[in-house]
Structure formats: C-alpha cells, structure tokens
Amino acid sequence: MRMHKVLTIARRDYIATVRTKAFLFGLVVAPVLFGGGSIGMSLLKSKPDLKDRHVAIIDHTGVVAGALVSAAREKNQRELFDKTTRRQIAPRYVFEVIAPAANPEDQLLALSDRVRHKQLVAFLEIGKDALHPPKPADDSADGTSEKSDPDGSVSYYTNAGGIDEMRNWLNGPINEGVRMARLAQLGIDIDRNKGLTASVPIEGLSLVERDEKTGEVQAARKRNELEGFLVPFAVAMILAMIVMVGSAPMLQNVTQDKSQRIVETLLGAATPFELMTGKVLGSVGVSVTSSLLYVIAGTVAVNALGVAGLLPLTIIPWFYVYLLADVVMLCAFAAALGACCSTPQDAQNLAIVLLMPCLIPLFMLVTVLRQPNGMLATVMSLVPPFTPILMLLRQAMPDGIPAWQPWVGLVDVVAFAAATVWAASRIFRVAILMQGKPPRLAEMARWAMKG
C-alpha cells in the first residue's frame, strides 16, 4: 500500500467534508437531537398546563375523603404560585366529594361521562372496607392472582394517557388518610403525635475511602444522581453521536463518487484498497475533529457547572480507542455498502443498515443503566459491533465493571474492525464499478469470501 496515495485521498475527503455546511450544521444539531430534546423538555416544563384538575371522590368509608381534600388544599397553597414572582406555576387540584348513590352503576357511568366531557380528569371510589381490607386470597392453582376486592381497595377511573401525575400524587395522601383514620379508630390522638406517620428520607452516599496521602478516613460524600445516570448516559451518547456523524457521510460519499463517475479516474491512480483506506482515514479525521470539539466544549461546560469531579477521566483514553475502532469499522462497512449502490436513493435505503451498530446499543441504554453487570449487559457489550458504546457506558458507571472486560472487548473490537476492513475492501473492489441493481446480501458475502 502506497501511503502517499492513501494520505492524499484522506486529506481531500477530510477537507471536502469539514468544509460542507452539512458538517457544520450536524456539529451543532446532533447534540441537540441526541440530548433527548432536554432543552425542549425544560422549555416545556417551564410552561406547564395550568388548567384546574377536577377529581370526584366517592368515599364509602366516610373518613378518607376529608384527608384527601385537606392534602389537595395544602398542596395548592404550597405549590400553586412561585414564591418570588407570585406567578402560577402548577395546576390547582380541585376535589369534590360525592355521596354514594343508590344505583352505583348509574353513578359510575355518569362520572365516566363527566371525565369524557373533560369536566373531571378522574374520579375515585374508596371501597367501604378500605380501612380494613380483607387478606388477599392465596394464588390460585394456575398461578394467577385473584382480582382485588373493590370494597377493600381504592378504584381510580380515568382516561388519561402517558404518565398520570395525579395518580402518582394520590398514592401518598390516600394511604396517609387511611393510616390516620385507622389510628383515630384505635383512639390515638393524632394531633398530639404528629410525627407518628412521618416518612424518613433515604440519603444516597458514596463509599467511605481512606486518603492515600494523609491516611485519614474520608467521610462519604452525598451521591449525586447525575453521577450514576447522567454522566454514563452522556458519555455513551456523545460516542454514538460522533461515530454516526463521522461514518454516515461515507455511504453518500462513495455512492456519489460512483454515480458521478469519479471512481474510475481514482482507480486509475490508486488501488481499491488504497482508495478505501484513504476514505476511511478521512472519516476518522472528521470524527476526531468533532470529538475534540465536543470534548473541549464538554470540559468547559462541566467546569462552568461546577460538576467537573463527576467526569471519570480514566475513561477518556478508552473513549478515543473505541471511537477510532468504531469509526473504522462503520466507515469500512459504509464504503462496502456505498460501492454496492448505483444511486443516492440506493444509499438512502441502506443507511439504516449502517446505523444499526449504533442504534441497537442506544435502544439498550436504559436496560444497561439499570443492570450494568447483568447477563444481558455483559454479553451485549462483548458483541463487537455494540462493544464501543455499551462497554463505555458500563465503564462510566460509578460501580464499574470487572477489569478484564474492557480489554476482552477491545481485542474483539480491533479484530472485528480488521475483519470488516478486509471484507469491505474485497466487496469494494468488485462492486465499485458495477452499475444497476444493488447486489443481494448473498452476493456481497460471496465477494467478501472470494474477492
């Protein structure tokens, strides 16, 4: 392989890519899109729906509804207005207590209609035995549980979709009301024992460490939620984003060279392998450029926010190793796919195939964050196309992973990347001058094997 040819091709492709408006646009837009729309979410969060939330309560016990009404009143007083601006920032909870009717079915139907007509957001029916619900029946023989007794529970009727904040909130006041009523029935004076049902907060702390220099045992610090979730999530997202921004243009790039008949002139001066290697190297340069910009911007941002201590600096070398391996792997794959396409339309149809090694790990992020050392997370992070994103995500988590896993993952990724480049160059060589219908997968596999 003649390196001057590889470098000439890489330099041209690199300059041609970083000078395009699409690259500059992607550099700015990709973080916004990949950030899960967090900016949009925070904007929307600051503009909540302030319409009153009307809820009807049928209380067969006669003693719980009052506690709910009081809790709603306290919540309104506490949260309805911003303390400094006095602007309303939360919806008002308005509860109306309805006496049970002689015909329960008609009453439930009438209330359901009110919900359908948006007069209520929901209605509750507190069963007559809710204070002393009967013991749940044992599981039936076939393993299915008996349905809970409506008299011994609280039924919540609504047609609300998505995350129902009202239902989440009601859980606390209803149970608090039930506990109070039970205590009152036992003759305990609630007013004189105010702390009786108070909840105890649980505080998350890091592990205790001994300072290596002073030898003193350092007190555990309060653990930030960001540490366990946001930092690994952000690191994995940034890697996925840079890999996609760096490798996706390769498919179009090769197809364009082919459809504009540029390829044959290039092949008159360089071998297919030199041409593909130059193009891959150009894309690696583009990815390193974007990653440097993101890493610098990220470092400035975390310093400005005062959370620099949360950045696990030890994973930065791993970040770059995985980045390079992933970009090489995907770009070689993209070059092979691009060589098989005759038109930009063909390339567009294949783009999703190319992004799969990034998209599949992204779909798994939440699962891996929940159980970073679970069987699924461990196995998937050792599957080479998914290793860079998933292994890095797991490495960035505070509890870490066994030391051997990143090294095994790295060997897998490097071996797989080398195999991809080798197979892709064989497909590239055969397909690059072909026109017409894109080849079938079986044909591509045959070219990869036989050259």
Partner: protein, 305 residues
Amino acid sequence: MDAVQISHVTRTFGTVTAVDDLSLTVPQGSIYGFIGPNGSGKTTTMRMIVKIFYPDRGEIRLFGDGRPETSTDLIGYLPEERGLYQKMTVQAVLEFYGELRSGRGVQAEVARWLERLELAGRASDKVETLSRGMSQKVQFIAAVIPEPKLLILDEPFSGLDPVSADAIRSAILDLRRHGVTVILSTHDMHLAETLCDYIFMIFRGRKVLDGTIGSIQDQYGEDTIRVTASGGFAAVEHLPGVEQIRDLGQVRELRLTRGADPQEVLRALVAQARVTSFSLMKPSLHDIFMRIAGPAAEEASHANA
C-alpha cells in the same frame, strides 16, 4: 522494450467472456488505436492494463515489469466514463489528481497545461461551472499530469467540438514526440487511420486485427473501387464481379469479389453510364470494420452458426 505486453489474457464476468485469450504487444513510443463495436472488450482490456481489473488467466507486463503497484504510477488514464469532483476548483482538482499519481506538487505543470488548452482563465472556477467540452479537457489534463510513460485514453474525442478535438490531437502527438506511449480507443475510423501507428480491433472479446494500417489493408488487397458516374445508384447496379455496393452520397464504393478483374468492371460501367471518376484502392478501415462487425457479417455469422 515494449510498453505493454499482454499474453493470453482472459477475463470473464459471470457467464460472459469479455476478453478471450488476448495477446498483444504495444511498442514503446507508439500510438496504438483500439477499435471495435460497443461491448467488444476494449474498455475491459484497458482496465486490465491499468490494473482496475485483473485477468482471470494470462499476464500483463508494463515496461517489462509484472508488478502492478510500481507500474501503474507510470500510467495516465482517461476513462470512458468521465467524472471530476464538481465542487472543487479546476486548479485544486488537477493538483489532487497529479499529487495522487506522483506524490509531489504539480502546480507548475497544471498551469502549463491549462495555458496550453486555453483554460487558464477558468483555473479558480468550480468544475461544475464548466461546459462539457471544457470538463473533458480538464479530465485529459488530469490524465497527463504528471507526464506519464503510458497514456491510456478511452474515447478521448467523444463529445468534443473540432477545435477542442484538434487541441487534444495535437497534445497527444506532442506527448508521443516526448516518448510517451499512447493507447486510445475510438469509434472514429478516419481518426484511427490518420493518428495511430498501429490498429488493434477486438470483436466479441477476440483479437481480429492487429498491425499498422498498411499491413491490415494489405491483408485485403486492392478490392475496392470508388466511382462517380451519372445515373446515380442505378448506374453501378448489376455490375459483374461486384459483391457489395456502398452509397457514400456523391461517391459509390464497390467491393469486388475475390479474383474479379477491375478492368471488366470498368468496361461494364462505361457501357451503361458516363463515368467521371474511377479509382482502385485498398479498403478503408471503416470498410474493414464493417466487413468484420457490420450487419452483413453478423448475418453471415448467424447463418454459419
């Protein structure tokens, strides 16, 4: 030393044999014209010389060297399907191709060639703003920078106006004077006859002609008569010893049957029309091409099959 030595080369694509057991020697410093109908194997042969395709069988040696890596740097290649980076400037795209081949800066050569082909004023324009003819000239410059030892041009004159074609022809002759070997393919038989030292014709993947234009014509002998006579086409019909008549407009071209006497033909012709010109000649390259690959040859080939 020969510039190109092709020995028993075969190349197939699936079930189609594009080039079949081809052997050819291109002497250094010559202009070798490749002719043949579309799809006959000209481009495949050229691509194999440039090492874009590899033969299934046989060997191609360039300047006596069988190693592809070193020898391709000596080749300038103008493919039939032209393409340049549209968003780059003329200067940048030529420097890129020049550097890609030579690994060094080629600014001076680019400037010289742009001047020569009257494109100096467009050096800083993007390729996408050029006319087709100008793009083709730029592509030609990309093939000759830096000066190659072997220049392969796949239909270099197609789509060019006469002025541009003349400029390219003159450049090719100049390069040959400097010792560059030129292989070019063309469908223009007159151009092949006048420009090339040697002609190679490939038909259905097999070599059917190879040699100087004189030696090729000698194979057929003086079996062609060009006639101008009153009475138009009817005047030359039903002449003895004539197997085929080709109407060229003002002139009719007659092909004699093997062993026919031209004097007999002239006598018969004078008897039935007023003859203003009568010349006996060797067949033109166009005529030879048509005899091999024209519709009549196709029909005969099918009849024999």
